[in-house]
Symmetry: C2
Subunit: 310 residues, 2 copies
């Protein structure tokens, strides 16, 4: 599969999208001017580090490469528009891997109305590399950053957490629609997608907002996968510490938070009131009436057996 | 070098640029809204395929990764704005390679006032991978595409060609300033940067424009490097067929072409009148009064010894 043939093939597969004036095939793609700022995110997936190709197959790798970028746009409350895909395909199986990869990416691109507007395709002797850059536009509240949470705000999350390694890390649905829908019902002060783990990502909001957080052990939504890990670690620890659930965690005023909980499900999503922001710039877990400091890793310092069973 | 430390380091090195509302450190970068369309290009460089790291060093790899993308923006007549850099660094030497790579990229980013506004940094067991996505805005004539050349137009090129493998492919200056300056003096009908070779890239213009081209053997600018290749191949063949000179080739009316040649040097660049577009959709080389068809590879079909010496 020569580069030029691949580009021709990609061009036949790229529908004319209103926001894309020039797609693949020229020196640059040209996106239509827009009245709003431009959101840009990029993520690279590497064989052997992020996935084992023989285990998961190229289609799921392609799907995930698109999904993680969509999740970043969702975390800004934005709407994705155009993707740029650079790949290094393993020589010898480039055509088969390239086609599967493309199929996986297009599954989500089509679903979220994203045009694959350009890219760079290579073959080499190394492992599979996929680098996606995704451009989008903000939602009605403008770009929703990590900074903006205030003491007294509630931390809400969009779905159950933990144990994504059992499958969700590949097959999750990026919360693009939810990120947009939420803005119709409440002023979102700060938002992030949970890629490093609830504790770590909520702490990112704290760091950027200059505040702290109390997480409520009995309100953190624990996934069935977290309960099914059977590795001796309590399910709550998985929900706090596991990465790649790609749910949204966001800060709203207490009044908006209470109203959102009454309104739910919103866009089919059940929200959980997982914590409350505080002025002290530290992370705590509250369980059984006791507040203990925890590390952003989700590891609970000085946390007794009772707490662990909470 | 953990990912978070690297991001902090990048943040300290990212100056506030007027067009970048949010730089590295949130889920997405946010670029200011613009009244013009958005140009986007992306290129990936791979160790072992595009460079031998031990031979050229990470700094020149970084420089080239930025330069090839700048050249694509130049080929649209555009102005670069913001770059997004994803890298896979070889484990064990990640810090040293990452810093050198960054230094090479910033050399050109600073020179062309480009902000490195985001990216994704990884380490792995594989070779060095650098993927740069560059966003820009069009120049005064809007995006200059490959389509737009008309029969009778002249093909001009911005510098001598051939033998870039001797060094220019790593150290070339992307023709951003030239691509912008030219628009002040003439209506550019179509433009491309010479990455595949003069014949191949000029033929890309023909394909997109629905026309053909006669190249003038005695007016094609031949570089000293092409003359110094000493591989038994005539210097003209190198000028026609070698890639990675990253000069601009563009189509203008004959009247504009003649005027540009009189005005030159423009922005320090000497222009050459390398060919003329024709309606017959084929590529020819004219030498010693004879017109012969050539392949886009630059290989001269049915071309006698006299022609080769031209």
């Amino acid at each position: 599969m020569g580069e030029f043939d691949y580009i021709r093939w990609i061009r036949t597969r790229t529908p004319t999208a209103p926001g894309v004036l020039v797609g693949p095939g020229d020196d640059c793609a040209v996106l239509a001017e827009s009245k709003s700022p431009c959101l840009v995110t990029t993520d690279m997936l590497l064989e052997g580090s992020h996935f084992v190709l023989a285990d998961v197959g190229a289609r799921r790798v392609g799907r995930k490469a698109m999904a993680v970028n969509l999740s970043d746009i969702a975390a800004m409350g934005g709407k994705p528009v155009a993707a740029f895909v650079s790949v290094a395909l393993p020589r010898g199986e480039a055509k088969a891997v390239g086609e599967e990869l493309d199929a996986g990416m297009r599954e989500l691109a089509d679903r979220f109305e994203v045009t694959i507007a350009g890219g760079d395709t290579n073959t080499w002797r190394g492992g599979l590399v996929v680098s996606v850059t995704l451009l989008g536009e903000p939602g009605p509240q403008g770009p929703i950053l990590r900074r903006g949470a205030r003491p007294g705000d509630w931390l809400l999350v969009t779905g159950p957490l933990g144990g994504s390694i059992l499958g969700k890390h590949l097959d999750f649905t990026p919360r693009v629609k939810e990120g947009l829908s939420l803005q119709e019902h409440a002023a979102i002060h700060a938002m992030i997608d949970i890629s490093d783990g609830l504790a770590a990502d909520a702490f990112h909001i704290c760091e950027e907002s200059g505040c702290g957080l109390v997480l409520f052990a009995d309100r953190i939504p624990i996934s069935d996968a977290a309960r099914g890990m059977n590795d001796g670690k309590p399910p709550l620890d998985h929900a706090l510490g596991d990465g790649e659930d790609f749910e949204l965690a966001f800060a709203v005023s207490a009044a908006d938070g209470a109203r959102l909980l009454q309104l739910q499900p919103i866009a089919g999503i059940v929200l959980s009131h997982a914590g409350e922001f505080i002025s002290e710039e530290k992370l705590f877990l509250e369980a059984g009436g006791t507040r203990n400091r925890i590390a952003p890793s989700g590891f609970v310092h000085a946390f007794g057996p009772t707490g662990r069973d909470a």
